[in-house]
């Protein structure tokens, strides 16, 4: 029981699963933690292992008691997320009501704080990462900024019984599904970096069943700054 086995001597499958467990537990030192996190972004099977461990250990969440919440935090979150006074399309009613409630609560002080926070947290305007995926009759234009990947489609929809599925492929070469591409335009919340390759494959309706592409890859291209 007390003998020491070097982690490198464990079978590969166990090593991956233990690494996922250690990531969920949080015991890894900073560099190993970051490496595991990077891998989960690109390696779907490893991300699945992490999700499974999160499920196994979730029961321990009940040990957390409620903590104090600063009344200043929510206005900061709103100022961070919705710095633009023009309501976003799609939620014209929600935005003013949320804002007016907070204005009632915090009055002029909030307005002053919001101005300061908007100045502080207004994201620096960054060029998007883009990829143009061109096929014969079909094309996808992908643009990634601030955690959102927008993909515009031009050309025919996938044939009946099939879907286009979008994949991100990093330096390890393992495709990670970003979801199905249906309709003219989709928005996908995700994290991507320069140099990651986007690829579109033709899959059975509903997407590749096992999280790895099964159909023909129709097109691929790297993400780069515009």
């Amino acid at each position: 029981m007390s003998e020491t086995i070097h982690p490198d001597d464990w079978p590969q499958d166990d090593r991956d699963d233990m690494l996922a467990a250690e990531y969920v537990l949080g015991v890894l030192p900073g560099d190993e933690r970051q490496a595991a996190k990077d891998r989960a972004e690109l390696d779907g099977a490893f991300a699945e292992r992490i999700a499974a461990w999160e499920g196994r250990l979730a029961i321990l969440n009940a040990a957390y008691k409620d903590g104090p919440v600063s009344p200043e935090t929510y206005p900061r979150i709103e100022a961070d997320l919705f710095p633009n006074p023009v309501p976003e399309p799609g939620s014209p009613a929600a935005a003013p009501s949320a804002r007016s409630i907070w204005r009632l609560w915090f009055g002029g002080a909030l307005t002053a704080a919001l101005v300061a926070l908007v100045v502080t947290f207004w994201p620096a305007v960054q060029p998007p990462l883009v990829a143009h995926l061109q096929g014969d009759a079909l094309a996808f234009d992908a643009s990634f900024r601030a955690g959102i990947l927008e993909v515009a489609q031009s050309g025919p929809e996938a044939e009946v019984g099939h879907d286009y599925e979008l994949w991100a492929i990093g330096s390890d070469g393992v495709p990670r599904s970003l979801g199905l591409l249906r309709g003219d335009r989709v928005e996908i919340p995700t994290e991507l970096d320069e140099g990651i390759t986007l690829a579109v494959s033709l899959e059975p309706e509903g997407g590749a069943p096992d999280g790895a592409p099964t159909g023909p890859v129709l097109m691929a291209g790297p993400l780069a700054y515009d």
């Binding site: 029961i59 008691k65 903590g67 929510y74």
Partner: protein, 189 residues
């Protein structure tokens, strides 16, 4: 997941419904604050982390999968990951937990973890699944179960654990991994 109001609020947030997001925050921020205080133990840092976490929740709510678990579990996973990233990025002693993060009354945190684990059982005993999972923890030797709980709940690193249990780092790692394999075998049975 027939009755998971938090999960439903998360799904509404994924459609950029700001009212749903505000309700989600009101319902869940005390719990996430509790998680962050437990792991980070620093009020100023907790407030900053709360802000970053809910911004991330807004941006990534679409990644929540109701079939994989309760909405609150997903939120706690996001909060724990963020807190652990912060903790391990701290320059002092390579991301060791600060002493301030320990109990204010000087109680050994692991003793309290044992106490709170009893609370876990009380609250969730009606669910057969929860009962089974607790049984799996009970099958582990006490110090091994305490190490798993201490790591998960308090955010202890391998270095913290090896100091606490007075064993070399690699021994600690082998020992904890054996415990994790036992847990996995028991829970997946």
């Amino acid at each position: 997941m027939t009755d998971d109001p938090i999960g439903r609020l998360l799904q509404a947030t994924a459609t950029h419904d700001r009212d749903a997001f505000r309700h989600l925050y009101a319902e869940t921020s005390p719990k996430l604050s509790g998680v962050l205080h437990r792991i980070l133990g620093n009020r100023t840092e907790v407030d900053d982390a709360m802000q970053e976490i809910y911004v991330r929740v807004w941006q990534r709510a679409a990644q929540y999968r109701p079939e994989r678990g309760a909405g609150l579990s997903w939120l706690i996973a996001v909060a724990r990951n963020h807190a652990l990233d912060r903790l391990r990025a701290r320059p002092e002693r390579q991301g060791l937990r600060q002493e301030v993060a320990r109990d204010a009354d000087g109680q050994d945190p692991l003793d309290r973890v044992a106490d709170s684990a009893a609370g876990v059982e009380d609250r969730l005993v009606a669910r057969g699944e929860a009962r089974r999972v607790m049984d799996c923890f009970d099958e582990l030797e006490n110090d091994r179960a305490a190490a798993v709980r201490g790591a998960y709940i308090e955010g202890m690193s391998y270095l913290d654990l090896s100091e606490r249990h007075g064993v070399p780092l690699n021994t600690m790692r082998t020992w904890l991994r054996r415990g994790l394999i036992r847990l996995r075998e028991c829970m997946d049975r």
